[in-house]
């Protein structure tokens, strides 16, 4: 994992001292709310429906046990005993008091964490593949480059006042687990014809009220040119992105207005103005940062562990969890253990302080003290020896963390919605809970197979509904909660935007509609391995429309 150098540590501590002073001046009345609002937002502090909300950055979703314990302690000391993992790999606290925030941030700084770049019109926390460094399909570990972009973008003077927020995601694997095509800039590591590893750069993707799948602006970029090329994109956006209308201010609108060819020409022209692009990213600096992400000291293990195999045969519940939540690891004898934060009927992404402490301990014991956060609001222990999986699972069971539903019906992405969010137009969590409870039978979920349901409580789409195989958008229709369903969205390497299936549903009928859609799929799939998305792409919306809106 990356470790702060002296400069990083000093910078974050100075930033906390600065915000302490700003907070004191606000509380004493020296600063007005209008003056203070942009300052608190630059430090991740929002005012939400019931109270303040602090969003803490988890760069590229990577945490140490020590950091997770600190997050648990903060939940207990400054909040109400829990935190909410977000769809951008961060964590939110829903009840902190303004007067406590400087102390809270000081505690975060003690473990190399902060809340910078989690709000405002800056380059936000860079996200990545939660299986980075361990996935079998990976070309190269992207975390070093994510860290480089974090360092480059943090209070970059040129990019602190962009037309709108700006999100970057990077993946080192062809199977996209980081939804890169739905980011302002999406980066995929790939090889060129000469077998050299570089980057494919996508631009102009996004969700919100105008969902767009990003398009390739550069098919292959040498590694050393990464920052300078991104800088050229940022400059064109900063210059020409609209500032007159916040709904048209994201880069996707500029790319659509100019067309990708013209946008590319402008970026290339800007790029040519940057002198000696390779100077910006010298090889030794890449080496210094990527060295922090060297693999842990794995044991030499046989890929098959007999005791583990016996436990799988003997314990049905364990075997079920293995089948759904474990992914193949690139090192023999190891596994990637995915921890679902979606218990049946639970709140997606929420974890109690007790659960966070438990996971920190389990990671320390079984995963080289490292935890990853996923944009699907789950956690991952990336380095678990197969021989330890049974003990790990038993530890997870004790804390209600062993739900065996990864990528199934009840593994729902869900924003906080009107239960917490000041912008929301409808609740999203109860819909998610009701779907989860309707499909509580895990065997039924397994029969349905992979299915990504994503729910947003407003058009801003924090719940990624546009990218849901089944997407649900909560709206306000004359004061009543009302839900629009989209089908066929996907955030993977073949990204697509869901299509509205027809008139929306009330809170009483939306779960029935989802169940009906799933049952239609079960009826018409060609075989059990054809996923919902494959079936939808084969047959289109008609069979679902007919079933949902048939009039006798």
């Amino acid at each position: 994992m990356y470790r702060y150098d002296e400069f990083d540590a000093q910078f974050v501590k100075q930033r906390v001292a600065q915000f302490r002073d700003q907070t004191e001046r606000r509380l004493s009345g020296e600063l007005t709310e209008e003056q203070f609002r942009p300052l608190r937002l630059m430090n991740g502090l929002y005012l939400q429906l019931h109270a303040y909300m602090l969003r803490v950055a988890i760069p590229y979703g990577t945490l140490s046990s020590k950091q997770l314990r600190k997050l648990a302690r903060i939940a207990d000391k400054y909040d109400k005993g829990y935190g909410h993992f977000t769809t951008r790999q961060n964590i939110q606290y829903n009840w902190p008091k303004l007067k406590d925030i400087p102390d809270l941030l000081d505690e975060l700084a003690d473990v190399e964490m902060h809340a910078i770049q989690t709000s405002g019109n800056c380059i936000r926390n860079v996200t990545s593949d939660q299986w980075a460094g361990v996935a079998v399909d990976e070309i190269e570990d992207p975390r070093g480059y994510a860290e480089l972009m974090r360092q480059w973008s943090t209070i970059h003077p040129e990019f602190c006042y962009l037309p709108r927020k700006f999100k970057i995601a990077i993946t080192g694997a062809p199977n996209d687990r980081a939804a890169v095509a739905f980011h302002d800039i999406g980066i995929k590591m790939k090889k060129n014809e000469a077998d050299e590893i570089g980057f494919e750069i996508l631009v102009g993707g996004g969700m919100g009220r105008t969902p767009v799948v990003g398009v390739t602006i550069k098919d292959w970029l040498p590694k050393k040119e990464l920052l300078s090329y991104i800088e050229a994109i940022m400059r064109v956006y900063n210059m020409y992105g609209r500032r007159d209308n916040k709904y048209k201010a994201r880069i996707k609108i500029l790319v659509m207005a100019l067309g990708i060819e013209e946008f590319r020409n402008q970026v290339e022209a800007e790029y040519d103005k940057i002198e000696s692009p390779e100077v910006i990213l010298p090889g030794e600096e890449i080496g210094r940062i990527t060295s922090y992400f060297a693999p842990p000291e794995y044991q030499k293990l046989a890929d098959t562990d007999i005791a583990y195999e016996e436990k799988r045969k003997a314990d049905k519940a364990f075997a079920s969890w293995i089948a759904t939540n474990i992914a193949k690891h690139r090192v023999p004898g190891y596994a990637i253990a995915n921890i679902s934060l979606k218990p049946i009927g639970g709140i997606p992404g929420d974890a109690t302080s007790e659960q966070m402490y438990a996971i920190a301990d389990l990671a320390e014991r079984y995963s080289f003290s490292e935890i990853r956060v996923t944009h699907e609001q789950n956690l991952v222990l990336p380095y678990v020896a197969k021989q330890d999986l049974y003990a790990l699972w038993q530890g997870l069971v004790k804390h209600d963390l062993a739900t065996d539903n990864l990528s199934l019906v009840s593994d729902i992405i869900c924003c906080p919605g009107l239960d917490y969010c000041a912008l929301a137009t409808a609740r999203s969590i109860p819909v998610s809970q009701n779907i989860s409870e309707r499909f509580a039978d895990i065997e039924r979920q397994k029969d349905v197979g992979e299915l990504k349901i994503k729910i947003s409580g407003c058009i801003n789409a924090c719940g990624h509904h546009h990218a849901g195989n089944i997407g649900i958008l909560g709206l306000d229709k004359k004061g009543e909660e009302f839900y629009q369903i989209t089908l066929g969205g996907s955030a993977d390497d073949n990204a697509s935007i869901g299509e509205i299936i027809g008139p929306g549903f009330s809170s009483d009928t939306v779960v029935d509609a989802v169940e009906q859609i799933i049952e239609i799929y079960r009826d018409i799939r060609q075989h059990k391995k054809e996923t919902f998305l494959e079936t939808y792409r084969r047959v289109g919306p008609e069979p679902f429309k007919e079933a949902l809106y048939a009039t006798d």
Partner: protein, 104 residues
């Protein structure tokens, strides 16, 4: 904030500066966490009076972002008319142990 309806009875809500907690302007021109204590405006003049009082408290940094919202009165019980504002009077519907509804 939810849309307001012309002519509907209204009350004033805000967030307390120091902790962000939702509060309501009372008849005695103080702030309460309980919607049952609110001052209700039934005319445009009364609405303006609530807004003016709210602004004066915002100016001395007790509260932030004061705004009017529609209320309904059923007998002696006062309720926010819109679900968003109702949520603010109670707390998250998915965590009955938190917020005002928890009574802590």
């Amino acid at each position: 904030m939810a849309k307001i309806t012309k002519g509907a009875p209204k009350a004033l809500s805000a967030n307390r500066l120091k902790d962000g907690i939702v509060v309501f302007l009372t008849k005695g021109k103080s702030w309460s966490e309980d919607i049952q204590d609110v001052a209700i405006a039934k005319t445009p003049e009364e609405e303006q009076a609530l807004l003016d009082t709210g602004a004066s408290f915002a100016a001395i940094n007790d509260i932030v972002d004061p705004y009017l919202f529609d209320v309904e009165q059923n007998g002696s019980e006062i309720k926010a008319a819109h679900i968003r504002e109702h949520m603010r009077t109670k707390g998250p519907s998915v965590r009955k142990d938190l917020g005002k509804q928890a009574g802590t």
